[in-house]
Subunit: 227 residues, 4 copies
């Protein structure tokens, strides 16, 4: 990795990484709407056709909210980064990769819930939960990388920040696994409801979850004095 | 919401928010063209097939103009914002969300007007009007937020600006509701015409509607002296 | 249009306009590939299926090159703009609008040339030429606006620049009309070949066409001294 | 190419070129997911339907990794560029063009491997290899252009850098040709595996391949002293 010729590009400011990521998130969030289709119904049945697609709207809402939260997380994380290197690009690519997958399980869930097969619905919800958990896992890798690379961060960033974010990502993995199990074992619709609620939960807590007693205990880090 | 660890990211400049929004608008405005499809006609009928799709072209034009106006509004609003916070991001997400929905009712209207069922056409136009009104409602939330958060605005921004914009958004909600009712109760085509005219109206007035006597009376705000 | 409340946003730097336009061009140029589809052929016929789609590849190439030239034109024009106002945004929207249409006639031409109906092929090529001419016409409006708004331009921009660009756009309109006529009256394939050649011609001349004797005579402007 | 009127736009900083390219890469990497479709299976068979699509997932992964590496390459190259001119834009367009093609062979490979026809699978893998090789060839043109245009580069860039990158691109062409031959002559699946491995190989070596003895010998350039 050491380059005798020149060192340009090994480390760089984060402007292109954030611009690229913003574009990716913007496309993902907008592609989701492509799965809202004109219902294929006989003449005169458009209204009921539109209404019967409601699981598609709920799935759309869940994924839209999820990507919105990912964007906020991403913005909040990169605000703390001074310089990016190749490793950071790859953990960033893993976040973009799993986020870009989201329209796929969204379409699967939306389709399955508009059919009547219970087994398919269970599979679909479990599949969505799997991708949701993978997305949280990619954040875990992302935060873990930054938790160990103080040199890439801005000086004023608290030492506790990224270890605490790591906990939040781990909680996310767990929550999507639980949602998948509930959706698979109990009722697919219950899983779908959780998919809508989870991003809201994340949005609300993203400012301060790691100050909560529980996660503080998990992170086992003393409060930084005067940061 | 208070973070003992560090305060980075709670407040930030608006560059990523506008870049992300620009990408979203660009994608929405470009996705619309995906609903202009090669007509599925027997050999030798391409010309008539293309001509018979005219409602699709009108719907495309209406939605394109709408998104263009949304972009101008967005640019004009963020030009006045100094700093964004989490609340502003969420009202911004609500504007992006409703704008991103637009290709869906556009396709529904375009399809229905190419079929012969009057009832479906009424439903389709009413549906478009509903999303159009929701989009104006999301602007209402956006402007309302900024009308109450002077601290996020640039110093030179008139105190009257965002309250007046709020009125304009409210007028928009009303106009789309009226267009929906006309389209549903009177004639779908009349509704479609209004959908094309409305963004034009907005584009023309966006510089000065709130100086008009009517809206001034609604806003009930004395003219700011020397702004 | 005069705003007693504040003047922010009436005039602004061009950064968001160019960022938005870049995103739109990027999406258009990339959407074109969506019309390259896996051929729907019986097993064992993939190779011939891929080869038989060659008109699609040519159409793709023509449109890709066209959008690339539009981007270069756009960049070159905005490099000369100091400030944008609402009127410039609208002529810019008209350029983006006609460019965004391009994937539609591209798909129509690609489809028609893969069928065997001569009449459809003529219509398709004429349709492509129509949109190509409209795109040049939107540039005409764009350059015309800037030719008359010296106050929006950077100081060092030659007075002759945008009037000369106007001529180039007019020549483009004429060339696409001619290509459409040749494609319709003579042979569709000849039209398609012209569509591929035209952007190349534009790319080559975009640096200096207006210095050519012909266009100089049309523009009837004395050479600016010492610009 | 010399313009008596003004010189603006002939040379320019690279900000719009990189912003445009970032958008294009972002769209390509995200469009890939559109080929992951809800399986068209009878009720109750969703799980096996999802599992049987595994070649689609592998193809998606291969192309995603390829685009990610292209983006890293692009970023690394443009970090060394001070100014862009028209020629650089055209070699850049050629890189974007071949990258934008990638979703097409990805879909072809993904489809063919889900069918049972050996001949089609061979064609599909060879087709993917062809586009992969073309993409490396466009990089070759890109690096070749910069290897000869020292005046466009930043001062601190080593003279050896772009000649060495050229070698790396040439190796890439060769590797994709070999992968295509193996896929065509030996086994399609072997080709697919190589498609996944190649970007990883590129990612790992992109920091330092040209320091390796082999490529140094090919490039036949003495080490620059003190760069």
């Amino acid at each position: 990795m050491n380059r005798p010729t020149d060192d340009i590009g090994n480390r760089s400011d984060t402007s292109r990484a954030t611009a690229f990521s913003d574009s990716v998130f913007a496309i993902i969030i907008t592609l989701l709407v492509l799965d809202l289709r004109v219902p294929d119904v006989p003449p005169g049945r458009l209204l009921s056709g539109l209404l019967e697609q409601w699981p598609g709207y709920v799935a759309y809402l869940a994924s839209y909210a999820y990507v919105a939260v990912v964007w906020l997380n991403h913005k909040s994380a990169f605000n703390r980064v001074k310089e990016s290197d190749r490793g950071l690009h790859w953990v960033n690519f893993s976040v973009l990769f799993t986020t870009a997958l989201l329209p796929f399980p969204t379409a699967v869930v939306s389709d399955a819930l508009q059919e009547n097969d219970q087994q398919d619905q269970r599979v679909a919800v479990a599949f969505y939960a799997l991708i949701g958990a993978l997305l949280c896992a990619s954040w875990l890798a992302f935060f873990h990388y930054l938790a160990r690379r103080r040199d890439l961060l801005k000086e004023e960033v608290s030492e506790r920040h990224f270890p605490a974010e790591r906990v939040r990502a781990l909680v996310g993995v767990a929550l999507y696994v639980v949602a998948g199990l509930i959706g698979y074992l109990v009722a697919p619709l219950a899983g779908l409801v959780i998919f809508v609620v989870l991003p809201v939960f994340y949005a609300v807590t993203s400012g301060g979850l790691y100050q909560a007693p529980l996660t503080r205990r998990i992170a086992r880090r003393p409060p930084a004095s005067g940061s």
